[in-house]
Amino acid sequence: MTRDGDSGYIGPSLVVRGRLSGEGMLRVDGQLVGEVSTRGRVVVGARGLMLAAVSTTTLDVEGQVRGDVVASESVAIRRGGRIDGDVRAKEVAIDDGGALHGSIAMDFDVPGDLFATEEER
């Protein structure tokens, strides 16, 4: 990940408290408490810990996130990663060894007749 002006980076010794918003990418290897809202990709490194509600396009979790997540594209939880919270996204992938505790809401259709019992039909 480039360390240019468009990317945010929270190093392992940092604790950030507050509301972070903007357009750029963000990588968190430290601790963030509050809210994150960005159009760019958010990556939580293995040592990262976010106690925050997150709104983004793509969220990649190798560390821990505690808060509700809304992603317009995808959420990926890698081995060793964990989300405690409700997740709304187009796509969610959880690798073997990843954890999610909360609800998942993806937008998709299921054949209507599966919701009716034999008697109802």
């Binding site: 604790v15 509600a53 509700d68 995808s74 990926a76 954890a99 505790h101 609800s103 019992t117």
Partner: protein, 159 residues
């Protein structure tokens, strides 16, 4: 248990009723009812299940409306379409799988981690707009999350 437990429910077959047994089971047809297997349950892409599924390991490639329980693991593969809760020590979702429901991992590989530095110790940091150090401790983390949860509950906010 009235019916013998089949090893394969073929595509094109439809069962309204329950399945119980100890051997592995492959479902490629339609089931309306409860499935309770002590082995591995594979729900193929052509399967449409309405009801609860219980197994040791449950592998999903088809459509389920109902809750899924496994004593070891649940795996949702790319074509899985599930509306219901997933309860198992370990659950994995492949990219492309679709789920609407509660995720209950009873023994995940990774446990929740606490803040390395407690939030209270940040009281020495001045808040924006003041030059004096804070006189009272900052509020605990939970109200921040509660307000954030309420704000995000109603839909996707514009980023």
């Amino acid at each position: 248990m009235n019916d013998p437990s089949p090893s394969v429910l073929a595509r094109g077959l439809r069962l309204v009723g329950n399945i119980e047994g100890s051997e592995d089971l492959v479902l490629a047809g339609d089931v309306e009812g409860t499935i309770r297997i002590e082995g591995e349950v594979t729900i193929e892409g052509s399967a449409r299940i309405r009801g609860e599924v219980h197994g040791r390991d449950v592998r999903v490639r088809g459509t389920i409306v109902g809750d899924v329980y496994a004593s070891e693991s649940i795996v949702l593969e790319e074509e899985a379409r599930v509306v219901g809760d997933l309860t198992a020590p370990r659950v994995s979702l492949a990219r492309g799988a679709r789920l609407r429901g509660q995720m209950k991992m009873t023994d995940p590989y990774v446990k929740p981690r606490d803040l390395e530095r407690p939030v209270e110790h940040l009281e020495a940091t001045p808040t924006v707009g003041t030059s004096a150090p804070m006189r009272r401790p900052p509020p605990p983390v939970l109200p921040v999350l509660r307000r954030a949860r309420a704000r995000f509950r109603d839909g996707v906010p514009a980023p």
